[in-house]
Amino acid sequence: MDARANPEGPLPPLWHYGETEHDPISTKTLGFWLYMLSDALIFAGLFAAYAVLDQNMNMADGPTAAQVVHPVAAFWQTLAVLSSVLAYSLATVALKTGNRARVLLGIVVAIVFGGLFIALEIGDFVSLFAMGATPDRSGFLSAFFVLVASHGLHMMFGILWMLVLIPQIIRSGFNTAVVTRLLNLRLFWQFQASVWVCVYVFVYLKGTMP
């Protein structure tokens, strides 16, 4: 598959008999997309566990969902994660023309908003711990913290990935390896926005409902 061919042109042959050019960007992007789908299945399992444990019997007379979630405060987290995703996505728009300064600017802004998200989430967890809502308090709280913190851990690893990519861009420029990593990180980072939509709606908003 030669993805550089003119999209309007004739389809490439299904296979070549001779030696053909390898397209690492297309194959690695598809591979990373398949990883992303399996990661989504991990979240599906966590959401299933949360849906089961979000029930009176599993509160163990401890805090209920309505007492641990604050959807208005969490909307700032929504803004932070979405702004970070937008900044990174716009960085990859600047990548089309190879504008190194704008790519780096977009990544730095994405790190700032991602860090803000992590800070808000840690602040939320600290205040929950202070009122006695710890993961070991009840089955419900275990599921709540594992689900929300799994998304938070993904955010932390995304930020780490950006911090690793910045020196690589400065040192080697936009070669095939660096461009592939930038594209896969865009996939990973946008996926965090999709997971947050589910976390916000099914944990934070649904949690306040009777």
């Binding site: 299933a48 990548l95 865009r186 926005a193």
Partner: protein, 129 residues
């Protein structure tokens, strides 16, 4: 990485790079923020029945996920993205099965196996106390 027989073509000209669309990313951002804000308002006003509210915010989230697939991930049926779309379509039944069947099973267990709550009865079963 570099093959002496085939010098690397410019990676920036690759379709995966060139399909990035600023307008799509900005509209995906605005759509997500506005619709999650609408869901927040609906929930905070408490003007709807819980069942109707749950259906409304679930519908908003599913709409947002589909919009993000198109605007963020750029999924479509062109030959650069068709296999991403196909693998997602084949994975969606796994989401439905893993979440739906689990919830259904435990809901039925709770409904059929647990004693109805009586006034004055402790919430916990005796064996756990």
């Amino acid at each position: 990485m570099t093959d002496p027989h085939h010098p690397d073509p410019d990676p920036l000209l690759h379709a995966e790079v060139q399909q990035a669309g600023g307008i799509g990313y900005v509209s995906g951002y605005l759509l997500t923020v506005v619709l999650l804000g609408v869901a927040l308002l609906l929930t905070e006003q408490k003007g709807m029945q819980p069942q109707a509210l749950l259906i409304a915010i679930s519908g908003l989230s599913i709409f947002l996920l589909i919009a993000q697939c198109m605007l963020f991930f750029g999924l479509d049926v062109t030959r650069y993205n068709i296999w991403k779309s196909v693998s997602l379509v084949l994975t969606v039944p796994l989401f439905i099965l893993s979440i739906g069947l689990t919830v259904w099973m435990f809901h039925s267990l709770n409904h059929l196996m647990m004693l109805p709550e009586m006034p004055g009865m402790p919430l916990q079963p005796t064996i756990l106390q």
